[in-house]
């Protein structure tokens, strides 16, 4: 039961993150409405937190050591990517972040 809850929670959060970041880059961050952009950005930050927590929680249910390591990597990925990213290559790292979120969702669907 817990596995099902965590799994679907992670899938929902991972998918939502990918969508939020994509829409943000394409539309929202270009808006002049500071309050909307503030709240939207805060949602992404909150999403990253929940994503990390749920990914790390799923480590328990990963079938083998490699899968556990992969889940750990996915959980830490927002912070790894964030620390590696630079302003000049922001778009590249944004794409990497989106791909990582989608890849983690696919991984959890198939392997956990």
């Amino acid at each position: 039961m817990l596995l099902i809850v965590l799994k679907y929670l992670f899938i929902a959060i991972g998918s939502l993150l990918a969508i939020l970041i994509t829409c943000g880059k394409l539309f929202v961050f270009k808006l002049k409405d500071n309050i909307l952009v503030s709240n939207y950005t805060a949602s992404i930050a909150g999403g990253f937190f929940l994503y990390a927590i749920s990914a790390i929680s799923l480590i328990i249910f990963a079938p083998n050591l490699i899968d556990k390591m992969l889940m750990l990597m996915f959980g830490l990925s927002p912070f790894i990517i964030g620390n590696l990213a630079t302003y000049e290559k922001e778009n590249v790292f944004t794409v990497i972040q989106i791909i990582t979120a989608i890849a983690s969702v696919i991984f959890v669907i198939n392997c956990i």
Binding site: I21, V37, T41, I44, A45, F48, P78, E88, F93, T94
Partner: protein, 278 residues
Amino acid sequence: MTLDFELINEKSECRKAVLLFHGLTGSPFELKKYGQFLYKNGYDVYADCLPGHGDKVEEIYTVKYTDWLEFAYKRFEDLNKKYDEVFVSGLCLGAVLALAVAIKYKDEVKGIVSLSTTLFLDGWRLPWFSFLMPIALSTMVRFYYNYPECEPHGIKNLKVRNVIKRLLQQGNVGMNDFPMTSIFEMLKLSKFVRKNIQEVTQPILIIHSQEDDLTSTKSAKLVNSKISSTDKEMIILKDSYHMVLYDNEKEFVYEKALSFLDNHSEIESEGEARAACC
């Protein structure tokens, strides 16, 4: 257009100077009245735009805290060669830089005046989601958002606040928002200073506002408690916000800073002569 200023006594050789550092996304403009006051009372004063804050505003997104440190160190070294006594002072990020210079140049910095020291961003003005800041700053989110300059602009006095708002809109005195990348760098600088704060041994005056909207008195209290200086004074203002150099108690701040500098300088001031020619 450069906002740097140097107030140098051309008529006689002044042997003491004050190096000023401005705040994050600010400019030497916010130090001008303070600098002029110190200059009129016998000090040569220097204030420069920090890296990322000059004409090329886009550099704020790529500047690193080490750039600020290197700049501050170099500036101090240049002045230390020319003057017998060099004091350092700063506001906000500038105060943290002043402490960093004091940490590195233990025997050479004559004294520190630290105003609205920003070691933490925990003021009452910060938005509801500021608890997410550690996550935002360490992920891609820091590239997506600029925290806008907003009410009360660090100033309690309404009249002054309206003037500053107008100047900000004209783009002459500072930026209209705080890129999160620069906040990230400022907090890294803060971490560096906090780690080494016990190395500060010079006389220090710490001034902070009880109602500071950007950073609470926690920053000032931490500096006061952790430094190794035996000669230290902390003043908590009751009627100002973050920009203490322009707010309701600015004259008090100027006088206190001057008194501190005079008490720790072994060189007599030429204050009366400068007041006459200014």
